[in-house]
Amino acid sequence: MRFWRTPLDADKMKIPRGELHIIVERCKGCEFCVEYCPRDVLEMSEEFNSKGYHPPKVVQPENCVNCDLCEMICPEFAIYCLTVEEESAVAEGGNNS
């Protein structure tokens, strides 16, 4: 993550990591998760599910910070986010906007 000013406790804080699970067959392609993901993790895929909708796909999995917004806003209960337990220091990241 890039900061305009490095927080004083940056070495103590850990950025949470999330792992997205998309239930493709349940998706109705409303695009809410893609539009409102604050970290641009998702994108609409070109593929169809069996109902003929385009489900989202994960394009930047490393950006997910487990904020759960996609899970909250999905009207179809078709996406959810699980915490990934791992060591990741704030200062490292840096490869995304």
Partner: protein, 302 residues
């Protein structure tokens, strides 16, 4: 919760993708019938998160719905629930609450059900300050029956029964509930998921008549007839046009077609509930003879 005739192994395979909402919903009924971009699913998820946040005992919760798109919620939740007749979710919930005051009774219904055909029940429950939590999903239209004009349709909006635009002034539901004496009145849109969850969490612990209105997109009928674009466009409209004003006078929160939507927690007060009044006045009047629920108990024993 296994549906009839489906072997357990099949269910286990289907629910392998365990969504965190699974303890709250009947996952075997998914996918639900709501259209793509409909906000009802988001509202259900917010309620489930609020239960989790408050730590509510789900055995002590009952959900009552009326008829309509939102009325389907009662059939999808894995809680004690009842799908009542059109407009009668509030009187049914009132009976449920009085028969077992320990229950948290939640009416989860739409605008057409709660304030159109059920309008009188609604205002009288608010007047009595019955201990009910009312969640009203307002999409400005009768969705399930084909997009007819509803008492909440804003002036000039097009519906299938008002092809030249609606010429009736609509209800302002928050004002109605507040004027009738509700203890807690709030309004959010389907976009404000976090604030909505917080409001639900507050509502669950608040005694008395609580009313939360959720403005949701109806892309199939309301947005299509009024050329508002897809559900996503409606969400963007909410993003650009909602004004959060906590404590605003509900009389000033009318919804105008194409205008700003004022959201927030408008009313929070502590009027005594119906049961408080009964206990207080009848207890004073009848003295030791008064016992809450005695008549009901006697009727059950007979």
């Amino acid at each position: 919760m296994s549906p009839k005739g489906v072997p357990e192994a099949v269910i286990a395979a289907v629910s392998a993708d365990e969504h965190p909402i699974a303890p709250f919903l009947r996952m075997d009924r998914m996918p639900h019938i709501w259209c793509s971009t409909c906000g009802i699913g988001t509202t259900v998820k917010a309620l489930a998160s609020a239960f989790e946040k408050v730590g509510t005992d789900l055995d002590k919760v009952a959900i009552v719905s009326g008829i309509g798109c939102t009325g389907r919620v009662a059939g999808y939740v894995k809680l004690d629930s009842f799908h009542s007749t059109h407009g009668r979710s509030v009187p049914f919930a009132t009976g449920l609450k009085l028969a077992n005051p320990e229950l948290d009774v939640i009416c989860f219904s739409g605008d057409g059900d709660l304030v159109a055909i059920g309008g009188n029940h609604f205002i009288h429950a608010a007047r009595r300050n019955m201990d009910l939590k009312i969640i009203c999903v307002n999409n400005f239209i009768y969705g399930m029956t084909g997009g007819q004009v509803a008492p909440t349709t804003p002036l000039t909006a097009l519906t299938s029964t008002t092809p030249y635009g609606n010429a009736e002034p609509p209800f302002n539901l928050c004002h109605l509930a507040a004027a009738c004496g509700a203890n807690y009145v709030a309004r959010w849109t389907a976009l404000h998921v976090r604030r909505l969850t917080k409001t639900f969490a507050e509502m669950l612990v608040k005694p008395g008549f609580c009313f939360v209105e959720i403005i949701t997109p109806c892309s199939t009928l309301y947005a299509r007839k009024n050329r508002l674009g897809t559900g996503l466009d409606v969400m963007k409209y909410y993003h650009d046009n909602t004004v959060i004003e906590h404590g605003a006078d509900p009389a000033t929160t009318d919804i105008v077609f194409g205008g700003p939507i004022i959201c927030g927690k408008f009313v929070e007060r502590d009027r005594p509930t119906w049961l408080d009044y009964q206990d207080h006045y009848l207890g004073e009047k009848l003295g030791e003879k008064y016992q809450r629920g005695r008549m009901l108990q006697e009727a059950c024993e007979r």
